[in-house]
């Protein structure tokens, strides 16, 4: 871990001011950043500890939505009564991730900004364009069973590891950020980015910008939803593939279906056009399969992760069936519903 300077401001304006000079990282729960610093992957010259900022609350929005403070912990968010009742998909996705101890420390803003779990990104003795632009990608042609099958580039096949963000994508959340230029709101779909030629950038935050909150719109998918996560053990592992579904069913027909995928791309994967193939359909295996193929069109593996292409399609079909039936996946019963 390198030497760094440290500041602990108590309001957002100060934090953003502190955050402006060059090589700075905001420290919240520290569950990912501190690990990466120990591994010498992150080497910030300056740490701005934001834990004293007044961003810990979860507040109702006037339009009936909910604002999740960036510093509210994942645990407090998942167990918040309003989140449980109005956004059970989000609660479920959060509880599918990490362990109770980590969720108690990890924050919502930090969850958005966590880095990939690519083996090569974590190992400074190996090439990685995300960690060291221009050094190459070790995972292409290397050990890549956890890697991307959609939206990857010749420079990077890493995935975004979050569960929470997959639900946020399905819920059309908005990320609120503050920077030197003031505040702005970024739709979740535009928050994370694909790697392209510059995989060092995980998201569209400008340097020094700080996440202050996540807004959930007043669209309550409380009946037809699910978060299905498949991984290498039954708990405490990152998703090989995961599927968040938020659906409306009226008079036996699907009127709206949102499908977001985790573990398959550099960002939570959504294809709104593909979702529309379900509109007006009665729930059926065939309809689900058509949607699964549409959303994963162009998916391809890199050797060890070839299996993900078929697996994610099966997972989508199952998740759609769970959502349509109103039988969401339990995150405590490890049997897949």
């Amino acid at each position: 871990m390198n030497r760094f300077s440290y500041a602990r401001p108590s309001d957002v304006a100060d934090a953003v001011r502190e955050g402006r000079p060059g090589d700075v990282r905001y420290l919240a729960g520290g569950t990912n950043l501190v690990d990466l610093m120990k591994e010498n992957v992150e080497r910030p010259a300056r740490i701005v500890d934001i834990n004293r900022l007044p961003l810990h609350d979860i507040d109702d929005l006037p339009d009936g939505g909910l604002r999740l403070g960036a510093l509210a912990t994942n645990a407090d968010t998942a167990w918040d009564k309003r989140v449980e009742e109005r956004y059970p998909l989000l609660a479920s996705a959060i509880l599918a991730g990490a362990s109770p101890q980590l969720r108690n420390a990890a924050t919502n803003g930090g969850n958005l900004n966590q880095r990939t779990r690519c083996y090569y990104f974590y190992d400074t003795a190996t090439p990685c364009n995300k960690r060291e632009p221009g050094s190459g990608c070790g995972a292409i042609g290397g050990v890549n069973r956890i890697h991307a099958i959609l939206g990857a580039s010749a420079a990077c096949i890493a995935t975004h590891p979050s569960d929470m963000c997959v639900a946020l994508a399905a819920l059309d959340a908005t990320v609120r950020v503050t920077g030197a230029q003031g505040e702005r709101a970024i739709p979740i779909a535009d928050y994370h980015r694909l790697p392209g030629a510059e995989p060092q950038w995980d998201n569209t935050l400008a340097p020094g910008e700080l996440v202050t909150a996540i807004d959930l719109p007043n669209e309550r998918f409380t009946e037809h939803y699910t978060y299905l996560k498949l991984r290498d053990r039954l708990s405490y592992a990152f998703a090989l593939v995961s599927v968040a579904v938020a659906m409306r069913v009226e008079e036996g027909r699907i009127t709206q279906a949102r499908i977001a995928l985790g573990g398959v791309a550099h960002k939570p994967w959504r294809v709104p056009n593909a979702e529309s193939v379900l509109h007006g359909e009665t729930p059926s295996q065939n309809a689900f399969l058509a949607a699964a193929h549409a959303i994963t069109e162009g998916a391809h593996g890199h050797g060890e992760n070839d299996f993900k292409v078929g697996l994610v399609r099966k997972a989508i079909v199952r998740a759609l069936a769970q959502a349509a039936a109103g039988t969401p996946q339990s995150q405590t019963d490890k049997r897949v519903a």
Binding site: M1, R117, I146, K314, K334, V336
Partner: protein, 748 residues
């Protein structure tokens, strides 16, 4: 006189070191902080093979607090003879010497050690040491290495060559039923909770105390003495508490060498702790490939076994395991042969990990047996009973005991095996296919010459001691129980000591010989105390015990009591006072004796187990849940059913990991293991573990070891993964022959 119920052998005494461990009072190797201690941080190499062309440590030396950076260029001299660097358990070859020269033998090899006043400075400076390499072509692809498999000319000490019987080729040619399958096991790393660590205390008088994470204090002591040319009398190695070993601490690892190198160079106390990532740069269970060919009559009687296996090793040492012998020993079959070889790769040397050889070879063999049972259209348990061998079928010798048949019966009863549907894919619950599988486990019942001491104080407190280790297995507790049993003292009056090279000689803790061997030595030492006490009691006025001999008395609650006249007794205190003794001491060595040696040659000594597994597999998605395991164990006399059960539970959990999770993934281009952390190297989590039922079947065996104890450290893992794999077949109809069975292997 109250005759309290004996809480010695056979009672479920709770772990005597448990409270110290859960309250943080137990101090581990990295929790000692001598005065003026330097922190060492290891710099790990980046390439698999080649040489170091230059080390630029200028930036690192500029970090405030950095005191020295040790490399092959500036290290102090150590013993130059190769054999001076060998340890008690090293396989044939040339032992790896850290920072010896510019050669790189494996990825992650230590290339420098940064010494600083603080851990943080050392760790930061380590990232600034710039090492330049000239890489050479390497091979870390096991399949390629297998093509050049070889039998080392010099064999490892404990290697047992498979013995051929009959004419298996001919029998196979004639066999109406034939199964030929190839199996694969991934490299696994031990991953004990405690990372390897050493704190060296540099004493003012030039002596050295080494707090080390090792499974053998005296092995480490001898190794350091020999490698550094320092008299063993000046080196004391302490390892009273070990946060798990599983074999990773059998041989001295490079952390202890580096700590000693730094301490002798600086003449200061030094601590070196490996990172979790560095725990993936040394010993590991070898990758294995095993080809099993079986022939049988139409009725399922085995007529031929050909059992061939290859395991991985390094270029510099030939680590060998007994992989193919188990199947040959366990099944009655007139024609059988085995073939074993190693395959060298540019990695660190593989080594012993819980049930080395058997966890691999018996498990994979049991998967082949399941395939033959299917071919013979027999229930896999019935198939095993049909081919049951009362004797050691490879060596033609009887077992001292083998209650495997009883283990099968009791295990099957507890599991409800009789309800099993014969064909696969016939049992389901909703979307899940249900499968039941069975396998046999087998391990050696080892005994190793061990000494123990006992000291009885005038106040009636007893200390028993041996240089051995308790790697979490319960050795302290077992010693306490045996002493309790022998001298009739309550456990609270007894202190068991382990983990100190100054204590009576003991071998490295491993191989499941600890309880049998240390236990026997403790019993002898306590018996010796008993004899001395009785003699002392003769000095008590009026001789209350008359001329009673040792067989005429019992030792109860701190008293010697006449068996024939319970009213006649002498307290230990009175006896010692009468004889003018402040304490009574004894040291004894358990060897098994001459009769034991003869018996060793004439009889086979093994533990056995029957494992029954239930899995539920999501039919479409391939998600596997192990919902039930019954492990019925035949392991002779059980000293402590509580710690014994814990041993088996741990072994079964590790077996589930072998079946479904554990795999260290190699990037063959870089020659480097890539998932070197506990986020990506998966061991079972709580959610992966459901009901595990442990049964100990009655197996009296006074012959196997002096106490009739067989040891339990390894048997729980052996075969478990086979039972799970066989259950997955029964659920899905799919034979996955490569462990671990991850979800990708269950996709169509």
């Amino acid at each position: 006189m109250a005759t309290t119920a004996r809480i010695g052998i056979g009672s479920p005494l709770s772990r005597v070191d448990g409270i110290a461990k859960v309250t943080g009072q137990a101090r581990y190797a990295a929790e000692h902080k001598p005065k003026d201690m330097l922190y060492g941080f290891i710099v790990s190499g980046a390439i698999a093979k080649g040489r170091i062309t230059g080390i630029d440590d200028r930036k690192a030396r500029g970090v405030p607090g950095v005191v020295e950076i040790v490399t092959h260029e500036n290290r102090p001299r150590t013993a130059w003879l190769d054999r001076s660097h060998q340890d008690q358990l090293g396989p044939p070859g040339s032992t790896f010497r850290p920072l010896y020269d510019d050669k790189i033998l494996f990825s992650g090899q230590p290339v420098a050690l940064v010494l600083a006043d603080t851990f943080e400075a050392a760790r930061h400076a380590a990232t600034l040491v710039n090492v330049a390499y000239e890489a050479e072509a390497h091979n870390t692809d096991f399949d390629k290495a297998v093509a050049e498999r070889y039998m080392p000319s010099k064999k490892r000490d404990n290697y047992i060559a498979p013995k051929k019987r009959g004419d298996p080729e001919k029998a196979l040619a004639k066999a109406p039923l034939k199964v030929e399958s190839q199996f694969h096991l991934a490299v696994e790393h031990h991953n004990p909770m405690e990372m390897h660590a050493t704190t060296i205390e540099w004493m003012d008088d030039g002596s050295i105390t080494v707090h080390d994470k090792t499974q053998g204090s005296q092995n480490t002591q001898a190794y350091l003495s020999s490698a550094f040319g320092i008299s063993a009398s000046k080196i004391r190695v302490l390892n009273p508490y070990i946060g798990g070993g599983f074999g990773s601490g059998l041989r001295p690892q490079y952390h202890v060498y580096l700590a000693m190198l730094a301490a002798t160079m600086m003449e200061r106390s030094v601590r070196v702790v490996m990172t979790r990532q560095q725990m993936f740069t040394h010993v590991h269970r070898p990758a294995a490939e095993q080809r099993v060919t079986l022939g049988a009559e139409m009725d399922g009687r085995l007529t031929a076994i050909v059992n061939e296996a290859t395991t991985s090793t390094s270029r510099y040492e030939d680590n060998m395991e007994n992989v193919v012998t188990w199947g040959l020993m366990n099944y009655a079959c007139p024609n059988a042969s085995g073939d074993y070889a190693v395959a060298a790769m540019d990695t660190a040397t593989s080594g012993d990990m819980r049930a080395p050889g058997a966890a691999t070879g018996m498990t994979l063999f049991e998967m082949a047996i399941d395939e033959m049972a299917e071919a013979a259209r027999l229930d896999p348990l019935a198939f095993r009973l049909l081919n049951y061998s009362e004797d050691d079928a490879m060596n033609g010798t009887p077992f001292t005991s083998k209650a495997l048949r009883e283990a099968f019966a009791e295990g099957a009863e507890a599991f409800g095996w009789a309800e099993r549907k014969a064909e696969p894919r016939q049992m389901r619950e909703g979307r899940e296919l249900v499968g039941w599988g069975v396998a046999t486990g087998m391990w050696d019942a080892l005994f190793s010459k061990t000494s123990a001491g006992a000291k009885l104080s005038a106040n009636g407190d007893l200390e028993v001691s041996s240089a051995g280790s308790d790697i979490g297995t319960g050795t302290y507790t077992v010693m306490t129980q045996i002493a309790t049993d022998t001298l009739g003292l309550s456990p609270e009056r007894i202190t068991a000591r382990l983990g100190d090279s100054d204590l009576p000689t003991s071998p490295v803790e491993g191989g499941s010989w600890g309880a049998a061997s240390t236990g026997a030595a403790v019993q002898m030492a306590c018996q010796s105390i008993a004899a001395k006490l009785l003699k002392a009691a003769g000095k008590v006025d009026g001789k209350p015990l008359g001329s009673a001999g040792i067989d005429d008395v019992e030792f109860v609650d701190g008293h010697i009591v006449s068996k024939t006249n319970p009213a006649a007794s002498v307290s230990f205190t009175d006896a010692m006072r009468a004889a003018g003794l402040n304490s009574i001491e004894a040291e004894e060595t358990a060897t098994g004796g001459i009769s034991g040696m003869i018996s060793q040659m004439r009889k086979s000594r093994n533990t056995h187990s029957a494992i029954f597994a239930e899995v539920k597999v999501d039919e479409e998605l391939g998600v596997v849940r192990v919902t039930r395991i019954v492990c019925a164990v035949a392991a002779g006399r059980i000293i402590n059913p509580k710690t014994a059960r814990s041993q088996i539970l741990g072994g079964v959990v590790m077996g589930i990991g072998m079946a479904l999770h554990e795999e260290t993934m190699m990037d063959t281009k870089l020659g480097r293991f890539m998932n070197h952390n506990l986020a990506e190297y998966h061991v079972p989590a709580n959610a992966d573990i459901d009901a595990i039922d442990v049964i100990f079947v009655d197996e009296p065996d006074p012959e196997v070891t002096p106490l009739g104890v067989k040891g339990l450290g390894e048997i729980g893992i052996v075969g478990t993964a086979g039972a799970v794999a066989n259950a997955i077949w029964h659920a899905t109809g799919k034979r996955v022959r490569s462990l671990p069975i991850t979800i990708d292997k269950l996709q169509d």
